[in-house]
Amino acid sequence: MDYVNGQMSMRKANLIGDKKASFLRLVEERALSKEEKKKLQDSLVPYIPKDCISNILPRLPVESLQRSRFVCKPWYTIINSLKFIDDHLERSESVLIYRPDTFSVEAKLPQSESVPVLGQPNLNPTLKYYITFLEINNGRSKIGEYSVSCTGHIRAACNGLILLENKLKKGGFIVVNPVTRKLISLPMGTLCPADKESYGFAFCTFTGEYKVVHLFQDELRYIGYEILNLGTRVWRAVNGPFGLLRWLGCLPVLAIGALHWVPNIDSSDYLSILKGLGELWTKQLSIKTGCILDVVPLYSLRIKGDLVFKRDEDGSFYAYDFQLQVMRKIEIEKERLKMSGMYHPHVNSLISRSSRERSQDVFY
């Protein structure tokens, strides 16, 4: 009996032993797999929520942003969304754009094959200039070039869109964003001599439209005003203050939602300013300026707030830092700065012509 019991108890013991062993084995296996799982989890990149991505992407420079569209569909949708484009614009610092003197001659139209226009032989091959930009940051500057060429002068710039003269056969203007390379063409305004007109380009927050404003002086020296909406591309005349302007050679400055022209620059300390956008033109304002420095303000950095000046004497640039209250000279490679014409403040953005127009290819 005992023997049997003994055997039975041994078997039981064995069974229990086996159970224990298998139980132990099970525990070991589970521990191992947990460790493996943890290892796997550690090596896996965690999923980043969308608002974190929206925090990272606007900080990228525009060239990287263009490429980042192709990472995956959600990123494509984010980068093309209007909100993102606006956020990115808010964070982008201003640059100065200009058209340098050196140009590239397009070899596309050899003399012998050129088509005469209106009976006149086409004498000049098309001269193309590459738009160049100057970035100023912490006392240093960087000069870059857009791969966008223009045939005429830069007339104005706003929110990353540049208004260019189109010197080709058709004439008129082109509005181009050199970053996205999207462009549209516009008709010229009323024709008049170059020193008797001025173009301004601004975004009217009221109507959500981009507008081009043209001030011009006719033979009787009266000032005409006309406006073009980028959406309609049609010029229409508007009424403006009568007889205030004597000189239109300056560029308008965009500030506080309106374009400001400085019609008189004389020896007095007062600057009169003509201000308007769209149908509303206010009377001229006068502000007193103390002319201590022999520098001319060019533009202010939209994010940092520094005021950038140019010294006509030697063509050097200075930036005034309001935080540190110090005026610093900017290091610039002088050879690359030779140009004719004006400097325009500009910003690298992804803006397309109408803020209301949605991009056609958005993936959901």
Binding site: C52, I56, P61, E63, V71, R181
Partner: protein, 126 residues
Amino acid sequence: MKFCTVKQYFDDENNNNVTNGIATTVIPLPNKHLKIKANNKEMEQYEQELLRNVMPQELTKLILAANYLNFKEALDFFCRTVANAIQNKSVDYVRKFFGLESDFEPGEEEKLCKEFAWSFEGVDED
């Protein structure tokens, strides 16, 4: 007010979002911030020190931690660092960095690449 999420974090034991290593990096930040609030350069130096030992891939975890803990300055700082790390890199590098896969159809991707071919110039080596 900055630590209400941290309190919740300590109470909530089964937390997969923030591992211990990450926590030790992120949590001392608010104190440091308060101490060197005025001096930006010192803060920059401290941040550089912090990041020297961190692998780029760990940055994504740091971002998640800062996001979970609702800690804005750290989140901004980590996002800035990630932006610097991925700028000018190829699309594949960015995908690997975030563990993403391309969900474009093969035809679509080709079409887009052709359209924007000029944006692929000047990319850094991986």
